[in-house]
Symmetry: C2
Subunit: 215 residues, 2 copies
């Protein structure tokens, strides 16, 4: 479950896999710019400037501005699938696996908000082909979470009326964290992760009694 290993700042995620050093700097610059202003409001000059390069340098490493978004989106979604798959495939009760999935997924959205925001909200700026590829990854996210909930229902741990709808609501809740989470706000990513894991367990009918105090 590990605490949030990547905080804000440069959002130094697993961009390590992006190999020419300049290409990685450009990609990180693009993530920041897209997250701040949105894909369409970001100019290639802005991206290059943040990376400390001339506008033309961008086109040595990427064919178009859209390719940047595509690459960011794919890497981000792969990370999302990995997080959910790891939680889904670990040992434990459905209850434990669901809590793990939600808390780590939320922590990723809150801690790497810059990245998550681009990944989750700039999707329809992609062309049809790239979008289709990304949507396939999203369906995998869906499948992992639904799998856990189905397991819990089958094992009698959960009490769920509409598995498909509940799956969607759980994912929706986690994803929307990227929209509202504020680094300077009252919560840490870990706190939101814990809160949300509790809320989701309640949603699937696994209501643990509150230990006492309310706030």
């Amino acid at each position: 479950m590990s605490t949030a290993e990547e905080t804000a700042g440069g959002d130094a995620q697993a961009w390590g896999e992006v190999t020419p050093d300049a290409a990685r700097r450009l990609l990180i610059a693009a993530v920041e710019a897209f997250a701040e202003r949105g894909y369409h409001a970001t100019t290639t000059r802005d991206i290059a400037g943040r990376a400390g390069m001339s506008p033309a340098a961008l086109y040595i490493h990427y064919k178009t501005k859209e390719e940047l978004l595509h690459r960011i989106s794919r890497i981000g979604h792969q990370k999302a699938v990995e997080i959910l798959r790891t939680a889904s495939r670990r040992e434990g009760t459905a209850r434990e696996r669901l809590a793990d999935a939600v808390s780590s997924f939320v922590r990723w959205h809150a801690g790497g908000r810059t990245t998550a925001r681009v990944v989750q909200y700039e999707l329809d700026s992609l062309g049809p082909d790239a979008r289709a590829e990304i949507l396939a990854l999203r369906r995998q996210c869906d499948d992992e979470v639904r799998g856990i909930i189905e397991d819990g229902v089958a094992a009698g741990e959960f009490d769920v009326l509409d598995v498909k709808g509940t799956t969607l609501a759980v994912l929706s809740l986690c994803i929307d964290v990227a929209r509202w989470f504020n680094v300077d706000g009252p919560w840490t990513p870990d706190e939101v992760g814990a809160l949300y894991a509790d809320l989701v367990l309640r949603m699937v009918g696994e209501k643990q009694p509150s230990p006492g105090g309310q706030r």
Copy 2:
């Protein structure tokens, strides 16, 4: 509680208050275009074209493209506050009021998805002054929902660990409906409203036993 009176199509909401007829047509065209492509990817030529007018006509009724977004945002947020306030101030238990608030708020986001999408997701395309004005309206939404939850906790109806966090999660869940809801999908706005009201009641510790069948 009323069923969804306004479905998709022209999204014929309460734009009735926009008075010169041409100004209203332009505003509705802008809502559709912003919802489809986003604010920055929409051109003034596109908006005018959808309204059946020349590009210049836009500037007779609105000073800038941003003023269009501002007007849309304000009207939409006023509607959102009104929906939540109506549910909050009706008679009934906190349980009934919260279910009412969530189901009607969700129905608005699903049924008038075009409008809701613009209202909820194009907010930071506004300038600082306009954004501040809209954020005040959002805080009112927050207050209404938190009020209901606080009432429920005080009355012993709800079992909530973190009132502020739960309020945020409830609103987040409802708002995100505008992102994923699809008119051609498997659910009607009413169905999503009912499902979400159930899920939210579970989140606040008001777990009613499932009437039997699951899925």
